[in-house]
Amino acid sequence: MAPRETNPNFMNGVPELLILRLLEDGEMYGYEIVQAIRDRTDAVIAVGEGVVYPVLHALEHAGALKSRRKTVAGRSRIYYTVTKAGTRRLGDLAAQWTALTGAIQKTLAGSGAGGRYGEAVS
């Protein structure tokens, strides 16, 4: 029997997924990324603002992002963009998350509570 991948932590990969998705639309710097995450998720997902940078550095180190420094109105900004490898990684992460959320929703809908949880999450 082939080994199955496990989901060690439900929130694992969420910041990476969101960041890659946002940067797919265009380059952004850290502050813009955090604001965009807050806006697009209706503040459901709120990340500690400063902790977005280790994720960005790690993604760049992995070749999923590239950065460039730009001085805008006397301020030093580091803009990030997605690379081809980053786009591939986004595809993989998105597929994993779609499968995972689908499975959770299916479980909640069929939990024997008359579809109560299924309605709540759909």
Binding site: G50, P54, H61
Partner: protein, 239 residues
Amino acid sequence: MAKRFRELRERLLNAGVAPRHVRRYLTELHEHLADLTAEEMRAGRSSAEAEPIALERLGRMEDLARTMIARRELRSWTARAPWAVLGAGPVLAVVCGWGLALLILWTGWTWFLQGTPNPFGARLHGFSILYFGVGRMLYYGAPLAAGWGMVLLAGRQRVRTLWPVMAGGALVALMGATGAVDARPPTVPGRAGDVGIRFYPLPAQMGDAVAHALVLLALVVLPWLVWRWMALRGELERE
């Protein structure tokens, strides 16, 4: 504010995060904090009210440090493999420096001193003085430059353990003290001979070699010891 970031920088470097990531992280946090403060002020808060809110939104220093330190891939090679960077690194640097010095010696011998049995002691003129001078500088300067480079890397990464720095310093000192340029006369008349480095001092030169090694070791390690002493004094004063 600056003190807060200074402490974060020291903590990250001590934990082995690569200096370039630390530098960029602090720049980004600093700019992010300025953006948050400006945002709070646009919302009608005074500067005194906006700054603590902005700091809270940025995250606790503990979390900012922990999330960066948790990324093992952002650690520097000096932290991951100190024996390689601080031990083998300087040796490689000396080998490269001496390789270049030998290349200069051999090409200089071929171009400027054709037919002479030995490149040492020959009368030099014009450009050849400069050319051989660069080679000589590389030969004498390589151990010291490699040692100081190693100390700089150790200092940048806040390496506190003594043995990698002492081992790296001892290796370059030993190489610098025992390595001597060897030139063999040409086997074909009119051509340049062979050049190389001989590493074993003659018994008669042993005393000089030991003294030379100790001087080199002191010159290499002294800046690091001074830095460690100053850092330790700073820590004690803060406590």
